[in-house]
Amino acid sequence: MNAGNPMFYVGAVGLILIGLFTVLTKRNLIKIIIGLTVLDTGVNILLVAIGYIHNRTAPILTQEHLDPTKMVDPVPQALVLTAIVIGLGVTALALGLAVRAYRHYKTLDTNKMRGLKW
């Protein structure tokens, strides 16, 4: 079944491009971090979509009779599991930095912070 054949790729690449555009053009530090989060989500969707195989099911044996050769690829799912948690760690640390920078410069505009000019 050719269901959603190019659409998963379109959604993932679209998220990557929108996230990258936000990081490149916006000046507010928190908006840049939001763009980073969207970019991270897009990459994760792309990875899991590459591992998908038509007409197969999730790689979990809940009963004895499930056939392991009728399952999708488990390796990208394991990697993406790790990647999601690391994305959260990066976001938390970046927001801590943003709060510190705000306390020091009294603004979140990267054009006004010395050393962060594009």
Binding site: N5, P6, F8, Y9, V13, I16, L17, L20, F21, L24, T25, A49, I50, G51, Y52, I53, H54, A58, P59, I60, L61, T62, Q63, E64, P68, T69, M71, D73, P74, V75, Q77, A78, L79, L81, T82, I84, V85, I86, L88, G89, V90, A92, L93, L95, G96, L97, V99, R100, R103, W118
Partner: protein, 229 residues
């Protein structure tokens, strides 16, 4: 000017991605390593959840790296938030009696759900990371429902450190017994039972507690703004 240059760069990236993804047709069976993991997963690891088998047996060293990265992020955030001077206001708005009692009532149930998720990580979808996130959400509910709550950070850091040490110590015992770091040295048991899959449930309990304490510590640091002194 900035938007134009960004557009140019992004269109280059879009063209590159489209050309590369043209060689990766959607939904075709391409796996080589995955096929081995699927067919031999239950026999090698004893875990019914094959993704858990990959995360904690075949690629366990990557999980150790991920645990380290999360630890460094939590450490860095603790340093930032404690250096930031006096705790500014940002008081959460006062809540009614129903919200306060409801939060206190739901909190142990959410902890129980998180514990169930990481305890059965090798049998059903779930595992340490998901269970830890649910536990941290329980702590977030507590902070939002009871404004002005200040918990001691001691138990968070103690749980996190002890759980991380447990992970590494089990790996070293596996090195001594099995010949390689993080080998699965306990008996595999019968599949689909709770005490099966060797050392995997113990590792997932350690990871679940560690991730839960870490993320709860991150939320606590951001809400309270660091410790006094």
């Amino acid at each position: 000017m900035r938007a134009a240059v960004s557009f140019a760069v992004l269109s280059l990236i879009a063209v590159g991605l489209a050309l590369s993804l043209g060689h990766v047709p959607f939904g075709i069976d391409r796996m080589e390593v995955g096929r081995y993991y699927l067919t031999h997963g239950l026999a090698d690891t004893g875990a019914a959840n094959l993704v858990t088998g990959v995360v904690l047996n075949y690629r366990a060293l990557d999980t150790l790296g991920e645990v380290t990265v999360l630890f460094i992020a939590s450490l860095g955030l603790g340093v930032f938030m404690s250096l930031s001077g006096p705790r500014n206001g940002g008081k959460l708005p006062p809540t009614s009696l129903i919200v306060r009692r409801g939060a206190g009532f739901l909190f142990p149930l959410i902890l129980l759900l998180g514990g169930y998720i990481f305890l059965h990580g090798h049998l059903t979808p779930g595992g340490g990371f998901q269970g830890g996130a649910v536990i941290a959400s329980g702590f977030l509910l507590l902070y939002l429902g009871i404004p002005g709550l200040r918990l001691r950070h001691g138990p968070f850091t103690a749980t996190e450190s002890i759980a991380g040490l447990t992970f590494v110590i089990i790996g070293l015992i596996g090195l001594g017994v099995g010949g390689y770091f993080l080998s699965n040295f306990l008996p595999k048991g019968s599949p689909f039972a709770l005490f099966s899959a060797g050392v995997i449930p113990i590792l997932y309990v350690a990871i679940g507690l560690k991730v839960g304490a870490e993320l709860a510590g991150i939320v606590a640091n951001m809400i309270e703004g660091g410790e006094e002194g």
